[in-house]
Symmetry: none
Subunit: 233 residues, 2 copies
C-alpha cells in the first residue's frame, strides 16, 4: 500500500493485532499498521463508504458486476474525488464469502492465467494499489525516459560529421577499410550511430579513442620508419 | 509468474536449490521451480538473450535508459514475437549492482510513492508479469519497427559482451584507457551501444576494425621492439 501512496488500512477481526511478525515484515511501512483501524465486523468497517469494490478471482453467479483491475482503478479514482471508496480483500486462505461480496457494488478481478488464477493476497493488494496510482496520475502520464544524470546534450550535426571523418581515417590507416573497395561499411556504421543519436560527451570519448589509436600508430610508424632506415639494407 | 502465464525461470547462483521452503511456498506453481534453469553466472543466464531488461527502483547515473513498467511491457511483448527477451531481477536484499544493470539495454521501474518506492521482489515480479500479460492479451501492442534494408538480426548477449571486452582491450593497448583510472568510459560506451541495440553485422564490423587496429599495433610493436633492440644503446 505504502509503495503506491495509500495509507488507510482497516482490519476486520484480525486473528492477532498488533502482531510482532506483521510489524517486522512491514519494515518501514509499519506506520500503516500502527494507524490501522480495527473493526469487529465488516459492516462496521464499511460504515461511511459510498462505493465498495470487492477483489475476487472467483466468478460469482449472484455477485455484482465484475471489472478488470485496470478499468476498476479508473472508476475508483473518479469516484474518490467526491466520495468514500473502499476496497475489500478476503484473507489469504478463504477469500471472501458470497455474503461479503454481495455487500459490494462491484467485484474486481485481476486478469490472469485461467489455469492458475489465484494470486497471493499481498500480490493482489500490490497490484490493485499500483493500478490506482497509475489511474490517479493519469493526468500526468509517467515520464517515459528519466533523465540520466551524466547524459549530455545531443551533438550537433557538424560534430557528428567530424566524428565520421575521423572514424573513416582510422579505418583506412588501420588497414580495415580499403578506400578503393569501401563496401558499405561506413553507411552501416552511420546507421548504427545515427540510431543511437550521439551525445556531445560520447563523441568526445569516441574521438579520444580514435586520437589515441592514431597517435600510437603514428609514433610506432615513425619508429618503424627509423628502424627500417637504420636497419640493414 | 505462473498466475500470469509465464514459465521460464532462470536462477543465478541461488543460495539453496532445490529449496524445500521454496517448493512449499510455490504451492501449485512448483512446476516452475522444478523446471528452473540454474546458472553459475549472469552471462551464462543471459546467453542467447537479445533484449535484456533490468528491473531497478534505484536511479543509475550510468545506467541504460529507464522505462516505466507499462511502457516496458508493451515493448517487451513486441520484441518477444521475434527474439529472446530476458527480464533481470536482483535479489531481495541487494538488488542489482551497477555492473549487472550495465549488461542490459534498458532498466524498468515501477512508478511508486517517491517516499517509499522499493517493492518486495515478489511484488515487483508479480507486477511486471501482470503488465506483460495485459500487454500480450489486451489489444494489439504497437509493433517495434526496425525496417531497414540491410538490417541484420540483433546480436545475442554473449556477442555483445565479447565486443565490449575487445573494445576495452584496444582502449587499453592504444593508451586511451588507463586500467588504474578507468573513469566511467566503459560504462558510457555501454550506454551508447546499449541504446543503439547492436545488430550481428554491426558487431562484426566493429570487431573487424578493432582486429585491424590490434594487428597493426602488434606488428608495429614487434618492429619497434626489434628496432629498439638493434638500435644504439
Amino acid at each position: 500500500m505504502k509503495t503506491m501512496g495509500l495509507s488507510r488500512l482497516v482490519l476486520v477481526n484480525p486473528k492477532c493485532f498488533p502482531d510482532p511478525q506483521a510489524v517486522a515484515r512491514a519494515a518501514d511501512a509499519d506506520d500503516i499498521l500502527a494507524q490501522a483501524l480495527v473493526c469487529g465486523s465488516l459492516d462496521e468497517a464499511l460504515a461511511g463508504a459510498i462505493h465498495v469494490y470487492a477483489l475476487s478471482a472467483r466468478h460469482r453467479n449472484l455477485g455484482p458486476s465484475a471489472l478488470p483491475a485496470r478499468a476498476a482503478a479508473t472508476e475508483i479514482v473518479a469516484h474518490a474525488g467526491e466520495a468514500e471508496v473502499a476496497l475489500l480483500f478476503g484473507n489469504e486462505t478463504a477469500g471472501l464469502s458470497n455474503a461479503e461480496v454481495q455487500r459490494c457494488q462491484r467485484t474486481v478481478f485481476i486478469p490472469a492465467n485461467p489455469d492458475y488464477s489465484s494470486l497471493n493476497l499481498a500480490s493482489a493488494v500490490q497490484l490493485l494499489c499500483y493500478e490506482l496510482r497509475l489511474a490517479a496520475f493519469d493526468g500526468q502520464p509517467p515520464v517515459v525516459t528519466r533523465a540520466v544524470a551524466f547524459a549530455s546534450p545531443l551533438a550537433p550535426h557538424q560534430d557528428v560529421e567530424r566524428f565520421y571523418q575521423h572514424l573513416e581515417r582510422v579505418m583506412v590507416s588501420s588497414g580495415f577499410l580499403d578506400p578503393q573497395r569501401p563496401r558499405r561499411l561506413l553507411a552501416k556504421l552511420r546507421r548504427l550511430f545515427g540510431r543511437a543519436e550521439l551525445e556531445g560527451d560520447e563523441i568526445n570519448i569516441l574521438r579520444g579513442l580514435l586520437d589515441a589509436v592514431e597517435r600510437k600508430l603514428a609514433r610506432q610508424g615513425a619508429i618503424t620508419e627509423r628502424a627500417e632506415n637504420s636497419g640493414p639494407k
